[in-house]
């Protein structure tokens, strides 16, 4: 039981990050029917952006008071989100809007996205010396257990709690935003039928731009959380990006709640399935099969539900 809960918490931590990134893929797909393959680099730039800000406030090995830590965390999250949003906005301006204006075929968007992805990753490498392991300064004891889950020896550490709670808050916020505000209505309108939405007086370009900003902010914030929990580098985006894309497809691409569920589910499955039966034996499948397990689950779900767990449309389901 202890083992099971420990792996579950690990899975939820990783899954929250997948979910935040997956939302970026799914939002853009919703309005443009386009996979933004450069989104993994938006995530990466969020990590570097917040690193610059957090580095300004804290220096190596310094332990701060709890309110200072909270403040720095909040600033980090905010700066990650801002940088992510800015990069995503710029991405749309540079790589997508010109193509859209000229009515380029879908394939051109894809290539443009891949090109931007390489460009951003190499640019970050150039700016930050291509170190494989950048770390945030350690300004609090991340791994200290906050509480023990009742009835077992499983613990939740500070960083795990921070990641899961902040991800949930952001997701609830997004859900409210999309279903309850004017901006949310225009996003859903464009997703459902762009020409009709335009006839109803919705500015399509502005809506698309804002969709990129929202997705970018979530991805950038995820970059900060990922960097704080693990390490970050200019090539960090690729694997989480692919996994998050898989999570978005798993939940139903274009569907916001689907991306959230898909992300959490993928993270949990990745940790729980290979280590089954959680008795200290290392598991029947073994952790070297983690990625295989993740994608086998994806394929199985798609065989039985080709549109993903919650189905495809942003317009309707959210």
């Amino acid at each position: 039981m202890t083992d099971f809960l420990n792996y579950l918490v690990l899975g939820l931590t990783r899954g929250s990050m997948y979910a935040l990134i997956a939302l970026g893929y799914t939002l853009v797909y919703g309005v443009l029917q386009l996979i933004n393959f450069a989104h993994s680099e938006v995530f990466m730039s969020g990590a570097f952006g917040s690193y610059l800000i957090v580095g300004m406030f804290v220096h190596d090995g310094q332990h701060l008071a709890w309110w200072q830590v909270t403040l720095v965390m909040f600033l980090g999250l905010l700066s990650g989100a801002l940088v992510g949003a800015a990069v995503a906005w710029g991405l749309e301006r540079v790589a997508y809007r010109p193509l859209r204006r000229r009515g380029a075929p879908k394939l051109a968007f894809l290539i443009s996205a891949i090109g931007m992805s390489f460009f951003l990753s190499q640019l970050a490498g150039k700016l930050f010396n291509r170190l494989s392991q950048n770390q945030f300064p350690s300004y609090f004891d991340q791994n200290k257990a906050v509480f023990t889950i009742p009835g077992s020896g499983a613990t939740v550490s500070r960083i795990q709690l921070i990641v899961i709670v902040s991800a949930v808050i952001m997701m609830v916020f997004l859900d409210r935003l999309v279903s309850g505000t004017k901006l949310g209505r225009s996003i859903r309108g464009v997703a459902e039928d762009a020409p009709t939405a335009a006839l109803m007086g919705i500015d399509i370009d502005k809506t698309i731009s804002r969709t990129f900003i929202i997705g970018g902010a979530l991805g950038g914030a995820a970059g900060f959380l990922f960097g704080t929990t693990f390490v970050f580098s200019n090539i960090m985006g690729f694997i989480p990006g692919v996994k998050a894309f898989a999570a978005a497809v798993l939940g139903g691409i274009g569907n916001i709640r689907g991306a959230m569920i898909g992300g959490l589910l993928l993270g949990v499955v990745e940790n729980l399935v290979p280590t089954f039966p959680w008795n200290g034996s290392g598991g029947w499948i073994g952790l070297q099969w983690t990625d295989v397990v993740a994608f086998v689950v994806l394929v199985l779900v798609l065989v039985f539900r080709p549109t993903g767990i919650l189905g495809e449309r942003l317009g309707r389901a959210a």
Binding site: L10, R130, F230, T275
Partner: protein, 396 residues
């Protein structure tokens, strides 16, 4: 409109093509002019280095290429070779898939008489045949996978003990202290090789062994650390490289694994110590390599290296230095015997009996150090620094 676009495209690709040819011309030209010009010593021969000079594992390549550079500079300064030597650096990023391109770059230069490298086992496996087919001798300073010498690479030589020598040596030491060990590897040629050798020897000594593999591209070592902890093992052995080892070290500390942490030569580096920080303290490393900062035979080398590169020599710098000197001695011997070409140099390297700073080096028929020669040393990280504990077979 359409024609104009086409013209533009054509013009641009023409410019691009010109730029490309210009590049290849200038590199080719550079190689030729220096081989003809030569300077004071008459002919110029080239020693190639192949290893990671960029990317995640660049530090190891830099440690080695500096050793090579130092050996070449010292030889050129002494002027007793009868020829001048030049260094060609080929960057393979430590990646087996990029190694053939690096090898092609080396083979293109006709003045190259030998290769120091490739640094990594996967890359070595990928290019051993290509170099062999060109009769180009390989003197390898660090790729320690235990099967490389059995793959029939005709020009293979290696100055360090392989993992089938290193793994069992450290396993014997672990068997003296621990009854249950968890062996983790990163699924690379090197990592799986050394982990397999450790596992086999531990089992032979009656130790309970549990194993797992974690892909080297993983950043999240939470699950594997949890598994290691729950297994109740007294010690963990990691077969893998430094950057990943550092992440693993932090995750093991985060879950509070109480046992000892041991790793192979791939983890012993400054990348690990800076990456892992305090979580790396107490880790043990086995390495068939010399600690140049403590070995008396390497005193001059350490001083010269530090003066030249502003940093003390690190893992595999002394081995690369020895490998280069072996190569230079072989070219000299080939010259004394009449012809200097790739084949004659390779023949001379095979006959090597060389007193290097890392020990007396001789090659067996398979190109490896004969069994029983070559020492495996044990190191540990203390207060963020790696210190030597001496010969692992004598360590307590």
């Amino acid at each position: 409109m359409r024609t104009r676009t086409l013209v533009n495209v054509a013009a641009m690709s023409a410019v691009g093509a010109l730029a490309l040819t210009a590049c290849s011309n200038s590199t080719g030209g550079g190689g030729l002019s220096s081989s003809a010009g030569g300077g004071g010593g008459g002919t110029t021969y080239t020693v190639a280095f192949e290893g990671p000079l960029s990317g995640d594992n660049a530090q190891l390549g830099i440690n080695e290429v500096n050793g090579v550079q130092l050996a070449i500079d010292q030889a050129n300064a002494k002027k007793d070779l009868g020829f001048t030597v030049k260094l060609l650096k080929a960057d393979d990023g430590g990646d087996a898939s990029k190694a053939p391109a690096a090898a092609a770059q080396v083979l293109q230069d006709a003045t190259v008489m030998g290769v120091v490298g490739p640094s990594f086992s996967g890359a070595s496996k990928a290019v051993g045949k290509i170099y062999g087919a060109a009769n180009l001798t390989i003197v390898n300073p660090s790729a320690s996978n235990g099967t490389l010498q059995t793959l029939g690479f005709p020009t293979w030589h290696r100055v360090v003990p392989n993992d089938y020598a290193e793994g069992p040596a450290v396993a014997d030491w672990m068997a003296k202290k621990f009854k249950k060990v968890f062996v983790v590897n990163d699924l690379s040629d090197y990592g799986a090789g050394v982990a397999g050798a450790v596992e086999k020897e531990l089992k032979a000594k009656g130790v309970t062994v549990q194993t797992a593999g974690v892909d080297a591209k993983t950043t999240d070592y939470g699950a594997i650390s949890q598994t290691v902890k729950q297994s109740g093992a007294q010690a963990m052995f990691y077969g893998g490289y430094d950057a990943q080892g550092a992440l693993f070290a932090k995750a093991l500390t985060a879950v509070g694994f109480p046992g000892a942490r041991v790793a192979g030569n791939g983890v012993k580096s400054s990348v690990f110590t800076t990456g892992a920080g305090a979580a790396g303290n107490g880790w043990y490393f086995s390495c068939g390599c010399q600690d140049a900062t403590v070995a008396p035979s390497a005193k001059d080398f350490t001083a010269a290296y530090t003066a030249k590169f502003n940093t003390p020599p690190s893992t595999y710098s002394p081995e690369a230095f020895d490998a280069t000197n072996i190569l230079l001695a072989a070219i000299k011997a080939a010259k004394a015997a009449g012809t200097v070409d790739r084949k004659s140099v390779n023949d001379q390297v095979s006959k090597t009996d060389f007193a290097g700073i890392t020990g007396q080096i001789k090659f067996g028929p398979d190109g490896d150090l004969p069994a029983g020669t070559g020492t495996v040393n044990l190191y540990t990280q203390k207060d963020g620094k790696i210190i030597s504990l001496g010969d692992v077979s004598k360590a307590s």
